[in-house]
Symmetry: C2
Subunit: 486 residues, 2 copies
């Protein structure tokens, strides 16, 4: 993410087609819509009000889910002593390359990390807070910024050195409760991504190679983007008892004996906003699903000298009537209606309402859908009812369209040649293939395909007996979704 | 903030009196109520769910105020290039001693700071975003963590190396708009502190010595704590055009000429929670004002074998009926009612409802106020109405009591001997005195009194002609509140 000039009037529109160069298109949509901006610090991003409003909608919705499940929000320190990282060996090894450290030292001269994730700092506290079965379950979430010092190319929302996320860290008496919780959250993530952002997700376990450092297993939600790449949008990890043992978390059971509890952790980040942009945006700019749009409606009056007052009065009535959708009225006089249309399309406002003197005479208004461009003439007394219906349709249709795209992108292959061609750069497919599950075999696949990785195990389908791994030909354990990924 | 053991069953209660040793009392209340905890990293804090819920209530309320004023939330990077700090000389000098730096360098090898405040990183973007009068005003707020590497003693919520806050950064065409905005926010802060946290505030300008590094002037809200110390709880700075010039922010005016805009910045932090704890807490623990309590009511059933089912059924009905107050039902059977009373008092729940078999026979319940300990017998059909009334009274009475304390703490002095005795450690007074405004004179006062500082200028009272500075005897410019401070 190099420092770039923000858009100005000369280059307002998107100058490249999504289907021609999605990377360049994405960069232009992000900055020109003003949903986010590049930071002077390489790899960091500025989330502008339009984008932060999406994040707040996600937070509001997910906070309801958390409350419903009895999870409470808290806040743990940004800085983590180095010794904490070292306590869980796999975790330490996994995160070491991308940790940022501060120059200032702790009291005892210990090095301090800027949190890349908070398992270690939280579980140190848990070891002091948890004494007996009465203290369980512990159900705690935090909304926070985290830092991973990426060396590969950074992209706003998709891969950045700092991002915002939520991380939940629960502790249970039994493994059964814990595993149910792991799957609960990954399914809640799928629901959230689909119902709010209209981005369909595949849910499944990660392979051994792709699981979280320190986990027994990891579950994931994966979106499939229009450029043929998979995007991991949230994970939920079964941590088993490994961290609990490393951090000496134990509890006195009802049986009066000491036990080690079971833990999980689960998170999604501002990356979800990137998924939404890529999935729905078009060559005019951003397309926001109504449920996450700060303003769901923009009212553009068609202004002429003689009828200006009348038309603006009618627009102000509309503003009041449509209040629940946080409408904006663009009554600027120094811009033409056409210029305004383009600007609000760039910013992705789901529904535009045009109102001119002729409309007013006929007691009508024109609704224009951002997603399809469809124009719908409605009677003014029906505006409230119809606006709601159209917004609901937009939300639904965006998801349906994205689901259809995902379904059509999935191909099933059982031999290596078909696998190679389906995973080719231009094929843009999400490839389902039988797989042995071995890390070494996965390494080979990534090497031979120049970048294809196992995205998720298809859990809801058993492998036929006698099926062979797509690559090594040994016994296949499960069907796996393979793709290139962000 | 040294690492300390969390409370366990053996030392549940507060073992020191607030009036005897407020520092020790505060530490015990904070950790034993589980509103927050010490972090293994010196100077950092863990905000536990009980405390984070208070912060969320503050955020919800203030987000409404922001929206009402057209301010939008955004998010800027945690890391700030060193060169940005250097651009505004006074700002750089003011913050240099407490900045934490990271080891990882930016692309060009530049050092990166962990933000202590975001003027510099935000105004760099503003310089790219603002082109014309059409782009003004810019009204942006961010909720974020900030880091100030304190070397003096840290105290949870009051002074810590990392804390949470909001920082608003507005830009205007004219100085007049800007100054109005500066005062608007400091008055909104006073309203918020008083209406939500029931902590009364004095509003005024800071003296030259105490103003924000880089500001033309700073306004402040100051609370006065029961141990006789003043606590700065929020500030709003008139930044003039200094930062705009340093960061080359300019705009094309309606007159087609280039102009430099006017800026302000304003913030309050999790310190407000500390003010609330100190102001209302007592020797039984925390006292939460109802408006910021996660659970405003706790229902404690009086359980006997024969009548258990009946009583619990009645309690569950109460739970439903009082839903708007997020009540908790403490139906644990392994603890006595008395033990539960103490625990919920420690945690500061504003209202307790006791319900036993005899109450049920009489169709009544007992309400117990956390703030006064008053018991109120009510008829069960009235519970909803009465609970609301009592909670409203608690909120009001906490503020009235705190206001009375503040009013009684203010003394007015006009000669040095009276000043010295009123600012003495045991006097616990907020001392109003005529002052010349000179930095050197203020240094002398601090030195001679071993720590007394100018907290705020009393803006609503003109200085009599001929009045003399309390210390140097030169012309007094204004009345100033002096006190020791956190």
């Amino acid at each position: 993410m190099a420092k770039q000039q923000s858009g100005n009037d000369d280059d307002k529109g998107i100058t490249v087609k999504k289907e021609d160069d999605m990377a360049e298109w994405y960069g232009q949509v992000v900055t020109k819509s003003e949903i986010a901006d590049y930071s002077p610090v390489r790899g960091c991003m500025i989330i502008r009000p339009l984008g932060y409003a999406v994040w707040e909608k996600i937070q509001q919705e997910f906070n309801k889910v958390l409350k419903n499940k009895g999870v409470k929000n808290a806040y743990f320190p940004l800085f983590i002593p180095e010794s904490f990282f070292r306590k869980e060996a796999e975790h330490a090894e996994g995160f070491a390359p991308e940790v940022a450290w501060i120059e200032n030292k702790d009291e005892g001269g210990e090095r301090l990390a800027v949190r890349p994730t908070s398992e270690t700092i939280m579980y140190d506290s848990y070891s002091r807070w948890i004494r007996s079965w009465r203290d369980l379950p512990v159900l705690i979430n935090q909304w926070a910024n985290v830092c991973r010092w990426e060396t590969s190319d950074c992209k706003i929302f998709l891969r950045s050195r700092e991002f915002l996320w939520q991380e939940g860290h629960n502790v249970f008496e039994t493994e059964d409760e814990c595993e149910k919780d792991v799957w609960n959250w990954i399914n809640e993530y799928k629901k959230l991504a689909e119902s709010l952002l209209a981005v369909p997700m595949i849910v499944g376990k990660k392979t051994e190679k792709e699981k979280f450092a320190g986990a027994v297993y990891t579950t994931t939600i994966e979106g499939f983007m229009p450029d043929g790449k998979s995007l991991q949008c949230g994970t939920s990890h079964h941590l088993g008892q490994g961290f609990a043992k490393s951090f000496s978390i134990s509890f006195l059971g009802k049986d009066e004996k000491m036990h080690t509890p079971w833990q999980d952790s689960w998170g999604f980040s501002t990356r979800l906003i990137g998924a939404m942009i890529m999935m729905h945006g078009d060559n005019k700019g951003l397309v926001l699903p109504p449920k996450v749009a700060q303003n769901r409606i923009v009212i553009v009056p068609i202004l002429f000298k003689d009828t200006k007052k009348k038309v603006l009065d009618a627009c102000h009535s509309l503003l009041k009537e449509l209040k629940e959708h946080d409408p904006v009225l663009d009554d600027r006089e120094e811009y033409s209606a056409g210029w305004k249309f383009s600007e609000w399309e760039l910013k992705g406002v789901p529904l535009r309402i045009e109102l001119g003197p002729k409309d007013l005479e006929k007691k009508q208004a024109v609704l224009v859908r951002r997603d399809t461009g469809d124009k719908i003439v409605i009677k003014l007394p029906d505006v409230r009812k119809r606006a709601k219906e159209v917004l609901d349709s937009i939300q639904e249709d965006l998801l349906h369209k994205a689901k259809r795209f995902m379904d059509e992108s999935i191909v099933r292959v059982t031999d290596w040649d078909a696998f190679m061609s389906a995973t080719g750069l231009s094929a843009k497919k999400l490839v389902l293939a039988p797989f042995c599950g071995e890390e070494e075999c996965e390494d080979w696949i990534k090497d031979k395909t120049k970048g294809v990785t196992a995205r998720a195990i298809k859990d809801d389908e058993k492998m036929d007996k006698g099926a062979r791994c797509i690559h090594c030909g040994k016994d296949a354990r499960f069907w796996v979704y393979f793709a290139r990924a962000y």
